[in-house]
Amino acid sequence: MGLSPVAEVRLWQLALFPFIWCVFLMVGAAVIPPHGLPVFFRVGQEGVKALALAGCLFAALGFERGDYLRGAWLFNAGCFTCLLVRDLALLPALSETANVAIVRALLSAVANTLGGISAWRFGRAWSVAELPDPDRRRLRAYVAMGILALVLAAGSLLVHVRSALAGNLASLVYIASELGDIVSLCLIAPVLPTALALRGGSLAWPWSMLAVAFVGWLLYDAAAAFTGLMVVDDVLKHTLLEICRAVACLFTLASGVAQRRAAAVHAEA
């Protein structure tokens, strides 16, 4: 089983790309004229989601049918696929069609369900592998993350529920997203103790990058809550949110590539 060119990429180098992208975002936000920023941010947003999808598929294809983590990566890929399809409805040709808000909300709900299943599978990998957890680190991680996720998402969730009850159907998309985030963040919490337990081995890289990805989503929720409560410059708000989204999506990509690389790196020993 030889090493492919991809396998030659050092694992730590995969972590550079998200940072380079974030610098690119900040520079773009600073130099692009205001009328060009919506397109800049939208292209960036869809770009990172597409790259995350590619990373998930790449990782999934490194496993065989029946391998536990193949399912986790495929569900994650399904989540990003639904998000990308949902965002197609923002195109001018489609955004005026009937019931588009409901369709977008449904796709958000499906995306977040698939993301939740993926998070659950990743979170359970240590238990499925039947490795011991004498300190109950995983249970403590679930509880801690549940509290944190509720604190961060409660504010904006309340705002969007009120908006939806007032008749703004577009808020349903945000509600589905926030509920999905809360659930997914809780379910994926054991990823960090798993990454720590694997330190010193090649598998620590994909699991650590996955942990950083979910911290990215946590920061995204925190940024959304913060910018919703304070009076913040619009460009700054969008830049902050897009940086958090980029961290989450591009570390998902990095994790997917690292998963294949980490498994292959010792195969020729």
Binding site: E64, A262, A263
Partner: protein, 82 residues
């Protein structure tokens, strides 16, 4: 890090540590030796290794998939002269 108290167990843990890291590899050898043989890794003999490999297989398959799990288990067997 607590030693496993057996050179065969230590060599297997060293092989696993490339993927799992030194801590988890030792935990894995200890856990799955007890699971497979009903006794600790300090009692591990060469003829016990195939049973230990079979016990490690599902755990390795979870983290690296079936193909690479077989490669790693094959490397372990080869290193021990099996």
């Amino acid at each position: 890090m607590e030693p496993l108290g057996n050179p065969i167990a230590e060599r297997i843990a060293e092989k696993l540590s490339a993927y799992l890291g030194p801590n988890t590899s030792r935990v894995a050898v200890k856990t799955f030796t007890i699971k497979a043989l009903g006794r600790g890794p300090e009692t591990l003999k060469l003829e016990d290794v195939p049973q230990l490999q079979a016990a490690l297989r599902p755990m390795l398959r979870t983290f690296v998939g079936r193909a690479y799990a077989e490669v790693l288990l094959g490397q372990i067997g080869k290193e021990l002269g099996l």
